[in-house]
């Protein structure tokens, strides 16, 4: 005989759900004798206080055990994994103990075990009772046949009542899967809410995770910039220099070439040198090697020197800051100075880098036309994003007529 798959699945589900409910009853009721004993003794006289203390202590001791068993039951019977409120077993510390004993957390647990538990148990019991009654009713013919013949024949209404019992039983059995499933699901949800991590904690974990993954991403981007810089330095730049050197050699060693050929060579020589200069500017903007090697001060002096207007540079750093912040600071100043030379029509600029407490303050001021708009230009909004990536703040002040100030504050510690 083949059972239709849908029916088999539903039968399996009923078995699973009712098993889950049956296992829940004793667990949910486990604390009832404890507190009712405490309450009954307390209602009497004499050892009132002691009994209260004993029952409270017993409840507090049993609660974690029950929580663990409930978690196991949810996982083993329903396949529901309720996350632990503190997922990683952290180092022993007072903070960890405090979190473990925190009022809200303990309160939520006790609420689950003392108040909701008995209520859920009542629900579970009624579902199980319905199932049992349904089963008994559906098998009414079996019971009847098991009775001695005399009793059966003497039994009033045997032919009329038994089919009614059977029908009622089957009807009840039809309701069981639905109610058992609903109760099991509801219980899981309640357990998840009260035994799992709280919303605040879930959010905190999420924030930690996102912060971590963002840091990884920033580091990956920085590493990529370094790699590109290195590849260009070792490859294209050397090739171009070599080309320029060879063209220079040709010019120097062959003064006998016809005028036209010399002119072409000279032109090629010039263009090669210009290409080198352009590529240098581009590559240098990516990530200068000296930044890793000697830090912000050294890298910025090289940057300032290549700007075609006087730049006053003040770097006031006692010690180096973390590479990610150095990199962002360098990038901000590099881009800001590029903007100054491209758009500001300034005659001079001033760069200040200062560490104030846990913040690195970066400021680029020029005496140009002003009117720079942080929201319009892709350059400035890109800078704002880059600063935001390390939780920094970014500010542009550029009234029409100047001066323009680009300032960033970058937190140096995380």
């Amino acid at each position: 005989m083949t059972v239709p798959p849908a029916l088999r699945r539903s039968a399996l589900r009923v078995r699973r759900d009712t098993g889950f409910l049956a296992a829940g009853v004793p667990l949910h009721l486990a604390l009832v004798p404890v507190w009712s004993w405490g309450a009954s003794v307390a209602a009497g006289t004499g050892t009132r206080a002691l009994a209260l203390i004993a029952s409270v202590a017993l409840i507090l001791l049993l609660a974690p055990v029950l929580t663990a068993v409930q978690r196991f039951r949810q996982r083993a019977l329903l396949g529901v994994d309720i996350p632990r409120p503190t997922p990683t077993p952290e180092r022993w510390s007072w903070a960890a103990v405090a979190r473990r004993l925190s009022l809200t957390r303990t309160g939520r647990r006790l609420g689950y075990h003392l108040v909701l538990g008995p209520l859920v148990a009542a629900l579970e019991l009624s579902v199980l009772a319905v199932a049992a009654a349904g089963l008994a009713g559906a098998l009414a013919y079996g019971w009847v046949w098991a009775l001695p013949v005399g009793v059966r024949q003497d039994w009033f209404g045997y032919a009329t009542q038994t089919p009614c019992y059977t029908l009622a039983g089957v009807a009840l059995l039809c309701v069981v899967p639905w109610t058992a499933g609903a109760v099991a699901r509801t219980e899981s949800r309640i357990a998840w809410a009260l035994l799992g991590p709280s919303r605040a904690q879930r959010l905190q974990e999420r924030v930690e995770y996102l912060a971590g993954s963002r840091t990884d991403l920033i580091e990956a981007v920085d590493a990529e910039r370094r790699r590109i810089e290195r590849d260009l330095h070792d490859g294209t730049q050397q090739r171009l220099v070599s080309l320029a050197v060879n063209l220079g050699l040709a010019l120097a060693t062959r003064p006998d070439l016809p005028g036209e050929a010399r002119e072409v060579l000279a032109q090629a020589h010039l263009e090669a040198k210009e290409a080198i200069a352009e590529l240098n500017d581009l590559v240098r903007g990516l990530h200068p090697a000296v930044l890793d090697d000697r830090g912000l001060d050294a890298a910025l002096s090289g940057l300032a020197a290549r700007v075609p207007l006087p730049v006053r540079l003040r770097v006031d750093l006692e010690e180096r800051v973390v590479p990610a912040v150095e990199s962002v600071a360098y990038f901000v100043i590099s881009e800001a100075l590029t903007n100054v030379t491209k758009h500001a029509r300034a005659t001079r600029a001033e760069v200040t880098v200062r560490r104030v407490g846990k913040v690195l303050r970066v400021k680029v001021v020029d005496d140009g036309l002003g009117g720079a708009d942080a929201s319009a230009g892709t350059g400035l909004s890109g800078l704002a994003k880059r600063v935001g990536s390390v939780d920094g703040t970014f500010r542009v002040s550029s009234p029409a007529g100047g001066p323009t100030t680009v300032a960033a504050e970058l937190p140096c510690e995380r």
Binding site: H233, V241, A244, T253, H269, A289, A299, S301
Partner: protein, 216 residues
């Protein structure tokens, strides 16, 4: 004159050998990293070492460090650093001990073969050759008190001195007479409180003072 070359790009090394040979140098060894450079200098005792700043294994300032070792151990070997970018900090490191027989030039300067050979010769003869970009970096530096006393023209002259030019060279670059240059230089010496010893030594001191001030 004998020279050794330390440059990790093989392509560029070939070019450098040709340029040096054109300038009358005899290339005793070509190597690709700092360690090998020190070994080559030890072996050949050349008059000149032409050194790339960024070399294996770290690709940061290996050349600068090797150059400083050479300056200390073999003072007879002049050192010219070559780099894709010139960094003031490296220049300051290199010049902190002694400003004679050192050069620090951008790689792209090699392409102007004549000027480059001249600069290298100057260094090999005990002079200095700083890339204009290094000098520019040094000149724009922050609160350099003694330098604030100099006039703009005097700063220009000092910059050209730091590049390693002679009075004639400075006069040519600024299109002024040589005697005007000499006058500026004397003013610089006076303003930087440099004692009257021999002029050449004072030139070096002025450049050193200049660097010292810019490092403050």
């Amino acid at each position: 004159m004998r020279a050794v070359i330390a440059e990790d790009s093989v392509l560029l090394r070939v070019g450098l050998v040709k340029v040096l040979e054109m300038g009358g140098f005899q290339v005793a060894a070509e190597v690709g990293d700092g360690e090998a450079l020190l070994a080559a200098v030890e072996e050949h005792r050349p008059e000149l070492a032409l050194v790339d700043v960024r070399m294996p294994p770290g690709f940061t300032d290996e050349g600068v460090r090797a150059a400083m070792v050479i300056r200390r151990r073999w003072p007879g070997t002049a050192v010219v650093l070559l780099s894709q970018y010139v960094e003031e900090q490296y220049a300051a490191d290199l010049l902190a001990t002694n400003t004679s027989s050192v050069g620090y030039l951008l790689k792209q300067r090699v392409a102007d073969v004549g000027d480059f050979v001249e600069a290298v010769r100057r260094v090999a003869d005990g002079g200095t050759a700083l890339d204009p970009q290094v000098v520019a970096q040094l000149l724009l530096r922050r609160d350099s008190d003694p330098l604030d006393r100099l006039t703009r023209r005097e700063r220009e002259v000092l910059g050209l001195m730091a590049e390693g030019r002679s009075n004639a060279g400075i006069a040519e670059a600024l299109t002024v007479s040589e005697s005007a240059v000499a006058k500026h230089i004397n003013n610089i010496f006076a303003k930087l409180d440099l004692p009257v010893i021999d002029t050449d030594h004072r030139r070096v001191l002025a450049v050193l003072r200049f660097l010292g001030a810019s490092q403050a």
